[in-house]
Symmetry: C2
Subunit: 180 residues, 2 copies
DNA sequence: ATAAAAAGGTTTTAAGTTGCAACTAAAAAC
DNA sequence: GTTTTTAGTTGCAACTTAAAACCTTTTTAT
């Protein structure tokens, strides 16, 4: 049923949420990411698209570069300009950003934003982000529980003894991708 | 290929990301949500589990209740106590929180947090959250594009003329769930 | 019944952060 | 060679945060 992590591990750093928030929890960070996602790559661009102050923008861009989310590169053909781009790490924040945006659509603005984010292959809208079980079922809060890593490994080991191999291989794949 | 939203709609409120950030962008908000998710429901509980100051916690809880993310209810058997619970709206922030946490695991802490969040039905770890096309393919930034809502509707209409009906029904479902 | 402790706040004050406006410095355009 | 563009920095007032002390109500212990 419910969901209750061992609380001692809440305060200390067994959870990476505090670590994430350290980097991306600042006030303007996601707005800068969104602008970057939309092709903005220069200081004055960010400045005019987001309603942010110059000094704050300078500060945030520096931090984001330091955090490895953005890269800063002086432009070759125009040396006044600096090009800011999302790194791979920055691009990997896309699911978080879209989850946030979709939540806002459902509960705050009440409408789908326009334009709509689509798969460029078939030009159809992307799905709502959801929590998925290993077999792709969508899960809600009541479906979730915390299981200790050790217990999980035990389970996987005993599974390979008395059941077919497919589930176990699946579990291992997920385990690796989560750890990577 | 790339991805470039009409920039006039970036600044004004065609996008719900700013709306979301207005509510959940505050410094301690996600830590409070995490604690709530883990079964914490009282003031002193939040206080000791997260390292937050009393006055800030009081302020944040008030805001989150005002925003409809948490409910506040005086306890019946002990009238000193107040019970805070995640509302449905608050629970719906779970995908965003987990996306953030998984990003932190991949890029900040470098390890999967322990304990592991699992599906209580089969006790296997949940998947990494990803952006999915309507047919469940995982998409990355380069696969995405912005399409105007009007254009999408046109496309759906012409599809129903010269193709089978299934894709269109799928599209409509997604459109509705996104708008809800 | 009375005193002590617990729960959930509020108040006060210092330190830190934000945001605006003005300034600078380098490179490019005219 | 003057003006404009780009990407910053600096100074300052207003606001926000954090820590500690205080307050109020309710419960438990004596």
């Amino acid at each position: 049923m419910g969901l209750k992590e061992d609380l001692s591990s809440l305060a200390n750093d067994e959870c990476s949420l505090p670590a994430s928030l350290e980097v991306i929890g600042e006030r303007w960070c996601f707005m800068i990411l969104r602008a970057a996602l939309n092709g903005v790559g220069h200081f004055e661009g960010f400045l005019s698209e987001i309603g942010i102050a110059r000094n704050i923008l300078a500060n945030r861009l520096t931090r984001m570069v330091d955090a490895g989310i953005m890269s800063r590169k002086p432009c070759e053909h125009d040396k006044r300009k600096v090009e800011y781009r999302l790194t791979e790490k920055g691009q990997d924040l896309l699911p978080t950003m879209i989850a946030m945006r979709q939540w806002g659509e459902r509960w705050e603005t009440g409408v789908a934003s326009n334009p709509v984010l689509c798969d460029s292959r078939d030009r159809l809208p992307i799905q709502d982000l959801g929590i998925r079980a290993h077999d792709d079922r969508i899960l809600v809060m009541e479906d979730l529980c915390w299981i200790d890593e050790a217990e999980l490994r035990d389970h996987a080991a005993s599974d390979s003894n008395d059941r077919d191999d497919i589930n176990v291989r699946h579990l291992k794949t997920i385990g690796e991708s989560t750890a990577a």
